[in-house]
């Protein structure tokens, strides 16, 4: 590559991301340290570049951690953080329990079926997320299809209340994030050497023991990747709790949205965002490490 060409190739995407990804974060951080005000934009201080260096100094002098103190004092916020982490953890576990048997079945299916099965798992992922969440409103509602079915079967006398409870949120999360769990697990199971299982059985393992001692441990990289791929985005999920969760489900993504759009409190919304990111950095870094180790192991 010629030097100017190379520079151009690097600079264009680099500056795009700097300007539209990194700078915005700096702004969020800045506003989270500002005070809210009844103004447009609704916070102070605003950076006054015309005052030059003095303006920048004044800006820093006015910063404080008031919004963060507010988050710590008000029960709502830390309850929302904890409840998001809890919901994400539990639904990751549920997705694993539902997803593993599917991935296992796919890996054991005859080879000529596998591309079709793969496509069947990926297809819902391409279909609108919003529509997939929406489809459960009709199923889980009080007069919904599920209650109709159960009543018709004579299993219940009164409709079950599922919609607008955390249970509906769990169902929605497992449903929409299932492909993220199934695909990495399938990828590791598919590469698994069948001879290993045969060896285990020759050495006297039952089929179940062979699964538990050989297949499951060897599928660990896929299981870990799948769990991260579900857990990380679910912590900040907004659409599912707001459509299926009702007012009883507390999740931080929804709190942030309401803080911004309903209360118009930009500094608090920004502080919520910064804290959420800080919480997510741990799993994100762990995930990237695991991915790197995985890549190195494959090479």
């Amino acid at each position: 590559m010629g030097n100017t060409r190379r520079l151009f190739l690097i600079l264009v995407p680099y500056s795009w991301l700097l300007l539209l990804f990194l700078v915005p974060f700096a702004i969020v951080l800045k506003i989270s340290l500002s005070d809210s005000a009844l103004a447009i934009p609704p916070y102070t201080p605003t950076l006054d570049l015309s005052a030059g260096w003095a303006g920048i100094k004044a800006l820093f002098a006015d910063f404080d951690f008031e919004n963060y103190a507010w988050l710590a004092e008000d029960n709502l916020y830390w309850k929302a953080y904890l409840s998001s982490l809890w919901i994400a953890a539990l639904s990751t576990l549920l997705a694993l329990m539902v997803g593993f048997p599917i991935a296992y079945g796919m890996a054991r299916a005859p080879e000529e079926w596998r591309p079709t099965l793969m496509m069947l798992v990926i297809l819902p992922f391409w279909t609108s997320f919003l529509i997939r969440v929406y489809s459960w409103i009709g199923i889980l509602g009080q007069n919904g299809y599920l209650n109709q079915l159960l009543e018709w079967l004579g299993l219940i006398d009164e409709p079950l209340i599922i919609l607008n409870t955390p249970i509906a949120v769990y169902i929605g999360i497992v449903y929409t994030y299932l492909p993220f769990m199934v695909l990495p697990i399938y990828a590791t199971l598919e590469k698994l050497d069948a001879d290993l299982l045969e060896a285990a059985e020759d050495l006297g393992c039952s089929r179940f023991q062979a699964f538990w001692l050989v297949t499951f441990p060897l599928s660990r990289p896929g299981v870990i990747a799948g769990c991260f791929l579900v857990f990380i985005p679910v912590v900040g999920e907004f659409v599912i709790p707001s459509l299926l969760g009702g007012s009883k489900t507390l999740m931080i993504g929804k709190v942030l949205w309401d803080e911004f759009f309903a209360n118009r409190d930009w500094p608090v919304a920004s502080a919520v965002a910064v804290l959420l990111l800080l919480i997510l950095i741990i799993p994100i870094v762990l995930f990237q490490r695991q991915q790197q180790r995985q890549q190195e192991a494959e090479q």
């Binding site: 296992y104 079945g105 798992v121 391409w126 920004s270």
Partner: protein
């Protein structure tokens, strides 16, 4: 792994796919329901499709969404391919770690944060919010997906092909155009499709990035759905689902045919050689 396909496997696949597909199937069936009461079947009718096409607000939103998706995914494909090329072939340069961090971060940062931060940027620099800002926002997060897809293809192909072209007197641009691009083309197309669907699908980032002048289809669907299930939304969902299904099935058949053809050509080349 090629082992006995047990009853347990068959059952878990059947139940798993039933779980994945039944909700969508029910939605599609009930979009042809005569009744306004969505959960009570009252006979076959296509009237909600007619209602939908007469609903100007939905049609306007659909046009905005399509415009945004086409422009932002094209931008994202160009930027993402450049970024992938730099990451895989660019060698070392100052700030490379930051660069690759910025490529991977948007994939895991929650939408609410990306949306909020972009909105605050647009306001600070005084940009009018509307179609343009949604395009910028979508191009930014989907270029990262494109670059991941394209770089995985770039990593797997033999660099000596490019070097051979250069040795034979190609300019770097010619080598890229006539050797690299045809090889990575499937990944570039897949990246464009991914960016396109991501843009079609996005509610949260678009809600933050847009102003009163632009409403996308997901925003419209979201505000309608908050009031409960409606037959028009069922009809709209059915149309969107059909488009995606036809697109995904066609593209997977095409890639399958392309790979079969490539194998045949390779075999023919070996036989001749």
């Amino acid at each position: 792994m090629n082992r006995r396909f047990s009853w347990f496997n068959a059952t878990s696949l059947t139940l798993g796919f039933a779980f994945l597909y039944l909700p969508i199937l029910i939605l599609v069936i009930y979009s042809f329901n005569e009744s306004k009461l969505v959960t009570v079947w009252a006979g076959f009718s296509t009237k909600w499709y007619g209602e939908l096409f007469r609903n100007q607000a939905f049609m306007d939103a659909a046009i905005v969404t399509l415009k945004v998706a086409v422009v932002s995914s094209t931008l994202a494909t160009i930027l993402g391919t450049m970024a992938a090329y730099v990451l895989v072939r660019g060698g070392r340069f100052m700030g490379r770690t930051l660069f690759s961090g910025m490529i991977y971060a948007p994939l895991v940062v929650p939408d609410v944060i990306t949306g909020l931060s972009l909105l605050l940027l647009f306001i600070s620099i005084g940009l009018d919010r509307g179609v343009g800002t949604i395009v910028l926002a979508h191009a930014t997060f989907s270029m990262c997906y494109v670059s991941v897809v394209v770089s995985s293809r770039l990593v797997s192909f033999d660099r000596s092909l490019e070097e051979a072209a250069l040795d034979l007197g190609c300019t770097p641009w010619d080598a890229f155009r006539s050797v690299t691009l045809p090889i990575i083309a499937p990944a570039v197309i897949a990246g464009w499709l991914l960016a396109f669907t991501l843009s079609l699908d996005d509610l949260v980032i678009a809600s933050f990035a847009s102003g009163p002048s632009a409403t996308t289809l997901p925003m419209k669907i979201f505000s309608a759905v908050r009031l409960g299930v409606s037959p028009e939304i069922n009809a709209l969902s059915t149309i969107l689902i059909s488009i995606v299904t036809v697109g995904v099935v066609t593209s997977s058949l095409l890639t399958k045919r392309a790979s079969v053809r490539r194998q045949q050509q390779e075999r023919a080349a070996i036989a001749e050689g």
